[in-house]
């Protein structure tokens, strides 16, 4: 496979995953903003939403003040925001179009269809009432693409690079949500274990689609420590850091077998997975959640760079 092809497949998956994560974050932010609250509550909510999405700086430069309509527009439609849903779908489709030969017809058609339909939406036509529907649509198109991929692609390097892209993006996104949203909800480390603001915790879990699965797993109320445990260390939760790294190491191991060579990226991924495997949530809190997550994000970025070098993504 061409290095350029691997690069495009990797980014195609990342962009699809990112579009979905944007929709999820926006949905949660919007739900919270709708709540009757006092003071600066909704500003804080949009701030943390934009920050989790990695778009706060760009937003402030463009719009300044936090205004719901502007935030929604910036995260959904603004093509000057490289992470907006519009930009993600356009980039994913551009990568896919460059690699038509690597995609199955089902994958291409779901990708192209999503892009065509989204391009036809007029931002001004999106009202408060239609927003949830639109966000659902984004998630369903991402699911359709993933489904087409999982059901039709050959299990070779095409599949492995797609998996790597999906889970490196997902790990990054969950880590950011933890670092920003989770952190904001914890007034101070002494408060850990309290049941403060149930709704907010539910919303946090909702942003990783885990508000119901949490109940299934813990059969308990939302408790900050358990939520962190669920998002970081749980091997069943498909958006946890641990699960993302399980999938990442599998895909990388498959690549090593497929090509008959291991690289630095394999060692790095395995080391991070071992860390998650052996970690204990109490200890993470003792030594600092923020530090833990920051370290994780740095490791994840380093892994991305190493993969790109190992497989000649660009020259």
């Amino acid at each position: 496979m061409l290095g350029r092809t691997a690069n495009d497949l990797y980014w195609l998956s990342r962009y699809i995953e990112r579009a979905e994560n944007m929709a999820r974050l926006l949905e949660v932010g919007y739900r919270i903003v709708l709540l009757p609250r006092e003071g600066q509550g909704f500003h804080e909510e949009w701030r943390s939403t934009l920050e989790s999405a990695g778009c706060l700086q760009g937003y402030v430069q463009r719009h300044g003040e936090l205004v719901s309509q502007n935030v929604i527009d910036y995260m959904l439609f603004d093509t000057s925001n490289p992470s907006s849903v519009a930009s993600c779908l356009a980039s994913a489709r551009r990568n896919g179009r460059a690699q038509r030969t690597a995609l199955t017809r089902e994958m291409w058609e779901s990708l192209n269809g999503a892009w065509l339909e989204f391009s036809a939406i007029k931002p001004s036509s999106v009202t408060s009432n239609s927003l949830p529907e639109l966000l659902d649509w984004v998630r369903s198109r991402s699911a359709l693409y993933r489904g087409a991929l999982l059901n039709t692609i050959l299990r070779n390097d095409t599949y492995y690079f797609s998996q790597v892209g999906t889970f490196i993006e997902r790990a990054d996104s969950t880590a950011r949500i933890l670092d920003v949203k989770y952190y904001h909800l914890l007034p101070s480390s002494e408060m850990i274990g309290s049941d403060k603001d149930n709704y907010q915790w539910a919303a946090l879990l909702r942003s990783v689609s885990a508000h119901r699965s949490y109940r299934w797993v813990f059969k308990d109320h939302y408790r900050p420590l358990k939520i962190a445990d669920f998002m970081i260390l749980n091997r069943q939760m498909p958006r946890s850091l641990r699960y993302s790294y399980d999938e990442l190491t599998f895909a990388l191991r498959d690549l090593a077998v497929y090509y008959g060579t291991r690289h630095d990226c394999h060692t790095t991924a395995e080391a991070t997975r071992d860390l998650l495997l052996e970690a204990d949530i109490q200890k993470i809190f003792q030594s600092g959640l923020h530090e833990f997550v920051q370290d994780f994000i740095a490791r994840n970025n380093k892994l991305g760079t190493e993969i790109s070098a190992a497989y000649h993504f660009i020259d």
Binding site: R97, R100, T101, N112, L116
Partner: protein, 471 residues
């Protein structure tokens, strides 16, 4: 102009034999249903991304070529005749290419003027003495045919460089079978789906000799923004080979290599969809970003096969075109089975005189033009347009040829409010290596505007599925 020959109705009266079953079917269709199916077809094309970029039209960066659902039908006997004529023609074109880059016997014999060949920009002196595998220069040729009567098929133009459109031949059929499965049970239509396989065989058969392993084949595209990008990726996909851009290729140690996830890998056969000029900045246009520096040296040393060969364009040059009948006789010893359209080379002063006196009746084309750009269709032009063209012609007569305005055949086509006749042509795609392979079918292009004779997709033409019937 007299009424044109119609593929379905001839000159009026009875429906022609190959169309009988189809005409019966068409007779019981409702316009509404047809229009619905037509919309469905457009949706299918858009979803699968079969688009075509038109230069100079930024709004429509990805436009669809209109697809007309009513097929063009060719009988078994008609096809058998075309097949023989085409085979003869492509063999002669390749023999001509070999000759002009070697001993130039045909020039010595006085059949083709020397300056027309050696001073032609399509002639590449760098190719002199180069021996491509099996002596084939143009492996993929598109022959543009027009029909002017029951038994009159004429060759309007040869395309020996990088003919495009074959993906439409294949996708049009897919779409038709999807929309009208019942039509295919009423008509015995020969399949075209073997084309990618035949193309792959052709490419394999011209690989450099003495390879240790199966040849590695790749398709070279100028990239995503090229008008025919869809076709490039479609063909690579159908053959299961890599689609590469210039940035994926590099020449190291005298071999062409592509950059893969496992490092550099040798490429043995390159089906390039990049023009000669851009192929190698060290040899041709130094500004080219679409080519690969050093590739021409690798080619000359026989360590990669470039398909079609550089310099193959001299065989489809419009100034050479009028000599093709002589060329066929010279190399095959037989008269051409497929006739040319009568052509006036404006470089010849007698011809020029005639052309200037008859501009309102003639079609005048630039020698190096393509895609329907820079041409004059006399009968469809205003006085001002004709006079403006006359000035250009007088200023540079060598740059033009002229042909009578042909009464191209028509075929029933779905127009705004009814089914009505529109003019069309036909481009079969021929593959040449160890043998000549011709898939029964081709690209039928149709002028969608009433009375228009310009079928080019860049000028508002559409396409039709082309049926060759089983005997």
């Amino acid at each position: 102009m007299a009424a044109a020959f119609d593929e379905m109705n001839g000159y009026g009266g009875e429906v022609r034999a190959p169309y009988r079953a189809f005409a019966e079917w068409l007779g019981i269709q409702h316009m509404e249903t047809l229009r619905q199916k037509s919309a469905e077809a457009e949706l299918l094309f858009r979803r699968s991304g079969i688009t075509f970029a038109v230069y100079g039209d930024e709004e429509a960066a990805e436009r669809l070529i209109p697809f007309d659902m009513l097929p063009r039908i060719i009988s078994a006997e008609e096809w058998a005749k075309l097949e023989r004529g085409i085979e003869q023609r492509v063999k002669a074109l390749n023999a001509f290419l070999f000759d002009v880059y070697h001993r130039q016997e045909i020039i010595k014999a006085g059949k083709v003027p020397e300056e027309l060949v050696v001073q032609n920009s399509a002639f590449l002196p760098e190719m002199i003495g180069v021996d491509p595998p099996r002596g084939v220069y143009s492996h993929i040729i598109g022959i543009d045919l027009v029909r002017t009567g029951e038994d009159e098929f004429l060759v309007l133009e040869d395309n020996t460089r990088t003919p495009s459109g074959v993906s439409y031949m294949l996708e049009n059929r897919e779409t038709m079978m999807h929309l009208f499965p019942d039509l295919f049970s009423r008509n015995r239509v020969r399949p075209v789906e073997s084309y990618p396989d035949a193309l792959l065989k052709t490419l394999e058969n011209v690989a450099p000799s003495n390879l240790d392993a199966e040849p590695t084949i790749a398709v070279l595209t100028p990239g995503l923004y090229n008008s025919a990008y869809f076709e490039h990726s479609f063909l690579a996909d159908q053959m299961g080979v890599e689609l590469v851009e210039s940035s994926d290729l590099v020449v190291i140690d005298g071999l062409l290599r592509m950059k893969t996830t496992e490092g550099l890998k040798r490429v043995d056969v390159l089906y390039r969809r990049v023009d000669d000029d851009f192929l190698d900045p060290l040899v041709f246009d130094p500004r080219s970003l679409l080519g690969v520096p050093g590739i021409f040296d690798v080619y000359r040393s026989g360590r990669v096969t470039i398909v079609n060969a550089p310099g193959a364009g001299i065989a489809d040059d419009k100034a050479i075109y009028s000599y093709i009948p002589e060329i066929i006789e010279f190399y095959t010893g037989k008269p051409p089975l497929l006739a040319n359209v009568e052509t006036y080379n404006c470089r010849d002063s007698e011809s020029l005189k005639y052309v200037l006196a008859h501009l309102p009746e003639l079609v005048v084309k630039e020698v190096h033009g393509s895609g329907g750009y820079g041409m004059l269709v006399g009968p469809r032009s205003t006085k001002e347009q004709i006079e403006a063209f006359r000035a250009r012609l007088i200023a540079n007569p060598n740059n033009y040829i002229a042909q009578p305005t042909l009464s191209l055949s028509t075929c029933p086509t779905l127009a705004d409010s009814s089914v009505s006749p529109r003019h069309l042509d036909l481009r079969p795609f021929v593959l040449i290596s160890d043998e000549v392979r011709l898939v029964p079918g081709g690209l039928t292009r149709v002028a969608l505007k009433r009375g228009s004779l310009v079928v080019n997709s860049s000028q508002g033409g559409g396409t039709k599925d082309t049926w060759v019937l089983q005997e």
